[in-house]
């Protein structure tokens, strides 16, 4: 499955934008430029397409809940407000010659919690193969998505996207949850949106093959190159010998050995560097077979040293592509850009800026061979303002 195009209309600062995603999609932009809103719009689209849209389904995907009126664009320049929030997804499935498109128009909740389906349409090529409009006679519940209601076997090929898209979530790990001392309220499997269940996820990824220790598909040594102070990483039940008895813990804990210390000086994620936990979390997301196929990470570079950010994004991109996943990321760290191989069309960089009306604009950054030959790193181009996606501060 390849996502080809996402269109968003009348959702917060995204009044009318579209972009063509690859497998790894990195969004840069000033604070308040709308990066996180793009991730939320994809969450809204996922909920609308594969479920229903209400506070529960949005929260499950990590979308911030707003006052109903604020979901729609409220720009000063708009004289006549649109009634609905519009979303569209185009994708292709390797087994079908024609691409699919799903369009949905939603009205925001009024006096209850539920978003209402104003219209939905499903196309294959140019042919409409399903959907309903506000005026349809047989439209079923207007609070439940068409995908959940129409079991027509002819739609089976188009329905495959729902399996992959339904588990979409916006991950934003929190250090305390990664450390295992605070429970994650978003209890998703295999990983919570805020970093819950990391130990369990890691436990299922660590395995020994032919005398070598692996973390998913990677040699453990490759992980330890990034967490360079660690000599060993494993998962165990909490014991007083490596975690203070007064610290609340989960059923399983991540256990580290520091290579500069004696082997007996083991400790858990509670005492470890938070950067190590973020690395493990991101890689588990990218590699875990039960993990989401399509997902987002807000502030990818959080807590990572500059060179680690660059290395991490390189490894992360490889794993996402290898596992045929699709990810949307935001970052403020220029070094993350230097780890992106923009010559690979699966990896795409988007800069976000607001126009004079305040509408968020999404612009894909492509780099010419001539500029590559000039030897300019992406980080410098971004810092110097050449890519956009910066505040107009001097």
């Amino acid at each position: 499955m390849n996502l080809r195009k996402i269109t968003i209309e009348n959702f917060k600062c995204l009044y009318d934008v579209s972009f063509e995603p690859g497998k790894v999609n990195v969004f840069i932009g000033a604070n308040g430029s709308g990066k996180s809103t793009v991730l939320e719009a994809v969450g809204l689209l996922s909920a609308a397409m594969t479920d229903r849209v209400d506070s529960t389904s949005l929260q499950r995907k990590g979308v911030r809940l707003s006052v109903s009126a604020l979901y729609k664009s409220h720009f000063k320049s708009i004289n006549r407000k649109k009634l609905t929030v519009g979303l569209s997804l185009e994708w292709e499935d390797g087994a079908c010659p024609d691409p699919f498109r799903y369009d949905v128009h939603l009205t925001t909740p009024t006096d209850d919690d539920f978003w209402k389906y104003h219209a939905e349409a499903l196309y294959q090529g140019n042919a409409k193969i399903g959907g309903r409009s506000h005026a349809s006679q047989q439209q079923g519940s207007s609070y439940v998505g068409f995908y959940l209601q129409d079991n027509d076997p002819k739609l089976a090929a188009a329905r495959k996207i729902a399996q992959e898209f339904s588990s979409y979530g916006i991950f934003q790990p929190s250090t305390l949850i990664l450390r295992g001392t605070v429970p994650d309220t978003s209890q998703a499997a295999p990983l919570g949106l805020n970093g819950g269940r990391l130990a369990e996820a890691i436990d299922s990824l660590i395995q020994k093959k032919d005398g070598d220790l692996f973390f998913g598909d990677l040699y453990m040594e490759d992980i330890l190159e990034m967490i360079d102070w660690a000599d060993d990483i494993s998962v165990d039940i909490p014991k007083n010998s490596y975690i203070n008895a007064n610290i609340p813990t989960m059923r399983q804990v991540i256990k580290f050995t520091d290579r500069y210390m004696k082997k007996t000086a083991q400790f858990t994620g509670y005492d470890a560097s938070e950067g190590a936990l973020y690395v493990l979390f991101m890689l588990a997301l990218a590699m875990h077979p039960q993990g989401p196929s399509v997902f987002a990470v807000d502030s990818f570079d959080h807590a990572l040293n500059l060179r680690l950010s660059k290395k991490m994004i390189q490894v992360f991109c490889e794993q996402v592509i290898q596992h045929e996943k699709c990810v949307f990321l935001t970052t403020h760290n220029p070094l993350v850009l230097d780890g992106l191989d923009l010559c690979n069309d699966d990896i795409r960089l988007f800069a976000m800026d607001r126009d004079s009306n305040g509408y968020a604009q999404i612009k894909r950054i492509l780099v010419s061979q001539e500029l590559i030959d000039e030897g300019q790193p992406l980080s410098r181009l971004w810092i110097n303002g050449r890519l956009g996606g910066v505040l107009a501060l001097l």
């Binding site: 040594e221 490759d222 190159e225 500029l371 590559i372 030959d373 030897g375 790193p377 410098r380």
Partner: protein, 246 residues
């Protein structure tokens, strides 16, 4: 304790060089791994072209770069493996014997973007730098020195065929170890382990070299006997340290 900046081809070289310098100076020094900026395609951040690019990019400001941040750098170490001269045609673009019409215009760092590798007039081994190992060292030292323009408080080290030759010299002590081509592929990573140190996936990793480093340091006298590049390196470090302490 000295503050030393190291510009090298990769992280494994950094591990060996820093430990060996500690052995030579008989003290624990403070090291900075200096790295060139990559271009948009992620090129020239490491490898010999990265090293050469760093030298060029910093030629004008080298002294200021070393002194302008506290703590200042006492000296620089620039490393490039000798195999570059053996197998990389662009490192010979500017050699006297090379008859190439693009010679003035083209930049070896952009090779092969500007050039067709099949019709490139560079012939290896380059006749300007025979015999092999000494020639490689002289040539690459010249290339780096030309890029830097001046080499004050700078030690240029060219392990031949690569830093791995020092590791093999320390462990196995074969004769003519510097003439052994591709020592990583042909010796160290041939099996699943080398002298009991596992080489998962035959991949070079800094962590593996951290296990090699103490053996290289313990056997440094032997490494010097077998590797002219090691002997040159020690001499160069002594000279710079002596000059710095005057």
């Amino acid at each position: 304790m000295k503050h030393i900046g190291i510009v090298c081809e990769g992280p494994t070289d950094f591990v060996i060089l820093s430990r060996v310098i500690d052995t030579i100076t008989k003290e624990l020094n403070c090291y900075l791994r200096l790295q060139p900026e990559e271009n948009c395609a992620g090129q020239y951040g490491n490898g010999w072209k990265g090293v050469l690019k760093w030298c060029r990019d910093h030629a004008d400001i080298k002294n200021l770069f070393m002194q302008g941040v506290a703590p200042a750098l006492d000296f620089l170490v620039i490393q490039m493996d000798g195999d570059v001269s053996r197998k990389d045609k662009p490192s010979h673009c500017l050699c006297a014997s090379v008859m190439c019409e693009k010679k003035i215009k083209r930049d070896p760092l952009n090779y092969p973007i500007d050039c067709d590798t099949t019709t490139c007039p560079v012939v290896l081994p380059c006749e300007d730098h025979a015999p092999p190992v000494d020639g490689y060292r002289t040539h690459l030292k010249g290339l780096i020195a030309a890029a830097l323009r001046e080499t004050d408080r700078t030690c240029i080290v060219i392990p031949c065929d690569s830093t791995e030759a020092w590791v093999i010299a320390a462990y196995d002590s074969p004769a003519n170890v510097e003439q052994l081509e591709a020592p990583w592929e042909n010796v160290i990573a041939r099996g699943k382990s080398y002298h009991g140190i596992r080489i998962p996936g035959q991949k070079k990793r800094a962590r593996i070299f951290e296990e090699f480093a103490p053996v290289v340091c313990e056997n440094w006298e032997k490494v010097k006997q077998l590797c002219q590049s090691a002997q040159d390196f020690e001499q160069s470090i002594h000279t710079i340290v002596a000059a710095a302490s005057q």
